[in-house]
Amino acid sequence: MRAPFTGFDAFLLALEKQYQQRGAIGNVCRYVIDVSGKIDKDELENLLNSRDWAVTLFNTSYQKGNIFRIPCWVQKNPTFIRITQHYSDDLIPESISELELNPAITCVRMDLVQRTDGSSSIILSWNHMIMDGFGAASFLNELFGDGMEKNLKLISYEKPNYSLKSFVKSVKAKYFIDYSSRRPVSILGPRKINLNSGQYIEVLTFNPKQKEQIHKAALACGSYYGTSAFYLTCAARAVKSVLVKRKSKIANFWVPVPRDNRKKGAYGPIIGNRLSFIFYRFKKTDIATIRSGIKEINRQMKYQIKIKMPDAYNHLMNFMKWMPLSIYYFLLKRRSGNSISSFLFTLAPDHPRDLQSLLGKKVSNAFNLPANANPPGLTFAFMNACGKIHLMVLYYENTISKKEFASMALHLEHELITGHEAS
């Protein structure tokens, strides 16, 4: 198997190189599935190794490109996939979070965690370069799902359309990104990659009753196209509340929000990121109230869909993947150091409905944790799982302190549930 990188894979490779040069771990994502009852390590290992496509995924690594060839994914000789067992009550035990996933060697691993209350958790960790959260959810659904044939696609490469028309679109996307990310942009932490800062993961869970309240509040505030504009406004306002307490000057916020390019209901492809972005820029006055924030986000979302910005972005990524990484990174950041978002925001794919039990044990919870790039060092990820909404907040201590986080979390909870501005 040999598959060229997608445009987004190459984008993540450029970021990965920056991390590696500084000795940092990079873009690692995780999917945690909690089950009621103990899972047997051998049973899990046997299941994983009985699926050829799973073995292929775990034995896939990246091969460097050259002047004539873009980087690609290659399959190494298949080896038996080993699962490591851990004993901890931490969401992500330190013995897992410290492990590196070097895409040139291995991109994916699975760990089993035994909890003191007799339950177990399965943790899938992967380097973002090889797949996105939607790919991971499809993979887990296929591995542990109902066993029905779903025509899962592990890999599928569509040759990009390199034409003058697509080049013009890509230039348009580049200008749009540069303009929308222009300084000044507010950010909570330092703009340089920081290695000595501790990372924390906090999960705010909203039960089914609160979920209903959130949906009602979103609609009442004008979030007509689903809850995403409401979530983004509340997150931006929470960040603003931290800046207000710090008495920092508040400039504009710039937030690129990823979206899945796959057709809805598609099973895969798993290998290769299929993401593009919608870019939001708002002034502090735009988010003076929740309603005004949503109105502005709706306007920008509708405008970018209308001018087909996500498509233009895909063309840009396809052209840029032919560039040497140093030029790529320079173009990404430009001399002024643009393109650092105020914070990261994502709507993680919902936990698959078909995945309510796993190896005969009931799934009690699931968390799809994105990578938390630093800078900006603060990520908000929303997902639906087991009838609840999880808001996962990943942050570095050089971005926001624990005390500030606690205050920000209260602000967020209040605004999400009530739809009224917190004082």
Binding site: G222, Y224, K263, K264, Y267
Partner: protein
């Protein structure tokens, strides 16, 4: 001037969703629950823009409620009430 019928709008929406929004493996009818087949906020905007572009139907704010986006049938009914 073309006369818009319920059938025409519903057929247009069905074709658009099948070709642009959902995977070809998804079975879609006029009554299918759009949320369940994966129609998200971006897809909702695409549907709104499709109605504007193809049928010159502009949905009003008051129409932007989840009930009207439950299925192609409900969206068609809502769209034609604006005409």
């Amino acid at each position: 001037m073309k006369i818009l019928t319920e059938e025409k709008v519903a057929e247009g929406l069905l074709k658009f969703i099948k070709s642009e929004v959902v995977d070809k493996s998804i079975e879609l009818t006029y009554q299918s629950n759009l949320k369940e087949v994966g129609v998200d906020s971006v897809a909702v905007i695409e549907l709104v823009l499709f109605l504007e572009r193809e049928f010159s139907i502009c949905l009003k704010e008051k129409d932007m409620v989840p009930e009207n986006f439950t299925s192609i049938a409900s969206l068609t009914k809502c769209a034609l009430s604006e005409k």
